[in-house]
């Protein structure tokens, strides 16, 4: 199978605990951020997003926090379940060029491998 995880930061939690995954982004001009979950052999799956005019957004069992001062994102997963085990990526969206439309680029940060122990 795929060797995802050999070079990734890892986080191991017990089932039912809360998980916090951190991410530093690079472009101060980025104004839209997304967390993706990637399971082995699958494409990244959208979890939650946040715009730069917000510092917190909540979804079902997930919360994203944005600190623009230090260019930091975090993803909090409540009551982590075995099905949450995956690689989690943050991604920043920044506009390229001035012609509008879809001239923007989504840049991924380094993933974190979350392992949930039953």
């Amino acid at each position: 199978g795929e060797s995802v995880g050999l070079h990734l930061p890892t986080l191991s939690v017990q089932e039912g605990d809360n998980s916090i995954i951190n991410c530093a982004y690079s472009n101060s001009a980025s104004d839209y951020f997304i967390w993706y979950k990637q399971e082995s052999g699958k494409g990244p799956q959208f979890i939650i997003d946040i715009r730069s005019n917000m510092d917190k957004r909540q979804g079902q069992r997930v919360t994203v926090l944005l600190n623009k001062t230090v260019k930091h994102l975090s993803l909090q997963i409540a009551a982590t379940q075995p099905g949450d085990s995956a690689v989690y990526f943050c991604a920043e969206n920044s506009q390229v060029g001035n012609s509008g439309g879809s001239n923007y680029k989504l840049t991924f940060g380094k993933g974190t491998l979350l392992t949930v122990n039953p």
Partner: protein, 113 residues
């Protein structure tokens, strides 16, 4: 709900051969992105298209080309394949609106031997 469809799921080629990867975006999505992901790596942006025109270019080798067709599907053409091209190739689509999330397909795993 319909998702992004990529074909083939797996592809094995020899060095110096060519490969074509196909991507069918979610209906009514007019923007397509291609990413390459090596083992244990984050996805790297290759190229994107909006309304059938190239909108941005990333770390795509000159040996690769891509286009978006009138039905919005996209193809990534790869020539003179090298061992280092072995990776997962993902396509993602979105509507041409800034600040809307990209939706990814399940990728094509390319192995070059």
């Amino acid at each position: 709900a319909a998702g992004v469809i990529q074909s083939p799921r797996h592809l094995i080629k020899e060095k110096r051969e060519t490969a074509t990867l196909k991507c069918y975006p979610i209906p009514r999505h007019d923007t397509v992105y291609w990413y390459q992901q090596g083992p244990g790596q984050d996805p790297q942006f290759l190229i994107s298209f909006y309304e059938k025109m190239q909108s941005d270019k990333g770390s795509i080798p000159d040996r690769f080309s891509a286009q978006q067709f009138s039905d919005y599907h996209s193809e990534l053409n790869m020539s003179s394949l090298e061992l280092g091209d072995s990776a997962l190739y993902f396509c993602a689509s979105t509507q041409g609106t800034y600040n809307s999330p990209l939706h990814f397909g399940n990728g094509t795993r390319l192995t070059v031997t």
